[in-house]
């Protein structure tokens, strides 16, 4: 096992597993937020695994997840709109969830970019990182901000 695989295991155990547990328990909003975070963490784990096993096809899986993850979350947001509007989260929850879903992206992508062969691979990784950051930030905002509001309702 090399360092990349160890990092992927750590990410799956410390990040992905708790989000899976959070998806199984609690309110609807908490479950959907956890589901959104889980797609980001799974994509990052796939990037680490692609580097650890030197299989570029895993990067494609991460790309697919980065595209489809936010789409799935936004569909949930549309379908569960009534329940999501029922309990509005505090500003702190919004901020924490945004940080939790955006902060791990550069922490994983920057080392993978440094280790990868410079060129198209780097651009591809940066594109995936951009999708992950934009998608998760957008979804967290959509899930925590009441329609027409700025998320400041306590």
């Amino acid at each position: 096992m090399n360092g990349w695989l160890a990092a992927a295991c750590a990410l799956l155990l410390v990040g992905f597993l708790p989000t899976l547990l959070a998806m199984c328990t609690g309110s609807v909003r908490r479950r959907v937020l956890a589901q959104n975070l889980a797609t980001v963490l799974a994509a990052l784990a796939l990037l680490l695994l692609s580097q650890g096993w030197a299989r570029s096809s895993y990067t494609d899986m991460a790309l697919v997840l980065a595209v489809l993850g936010p789409v799935g979350t936004l569909i949930y947001e549309r379908l569960l709109g009534e329940e999501l509007r029922a309990d509005r989260p505090s500003r702190r929850v919004t901020r924490t969830m945004t940080v939790l879903s955006v902060a791990p992206v550069p922490v994983v992508v920057v080392p993978v970019c440094v280790a990868a062969t410079p060129g198209r691979t780097t651009l591809k990784l940066l594109f995936i990182a951009g999708l992950l950051v934009a998608g998760s930030a957008l979804c967290t905002r959509a899930l925590t901000t009441p329609p027409g509001g700025d998320g400041s309702h306590g």
Binding site: S56, L63, R120, L123, K124, F127
Partner: protein, 58 residues
């Protein structure tokens, strides 16, 4: 005439961006891949323009 030119320019801009994206994301760059990518990007460029106009009209 100006509207048509603007529409063509927008589709061309979408096409350039999407073809570039295709070339960045594929595994190996060869002639067949470039042809397929350019064709797919042309369809997607019309789709992109239609989606933007639908979003603006809302």
């Amino acid at each position: 005439m100006v509207r048509r030119l603007a529409a063509a320019a927008e589709v061309a801009a979408w096409w350039v961006v999407l073809t570039g994206l295709w070339l960045v994301l594929i595994q190996s760059v060869d002639t067949l891949e470039c042809g397929v990518g350019a064709s797919a990007a042309l369809f997607a460029a019309y789709g992109g323009r239609a989606a933007r106009r639908a979003a603006v009209r809302r």
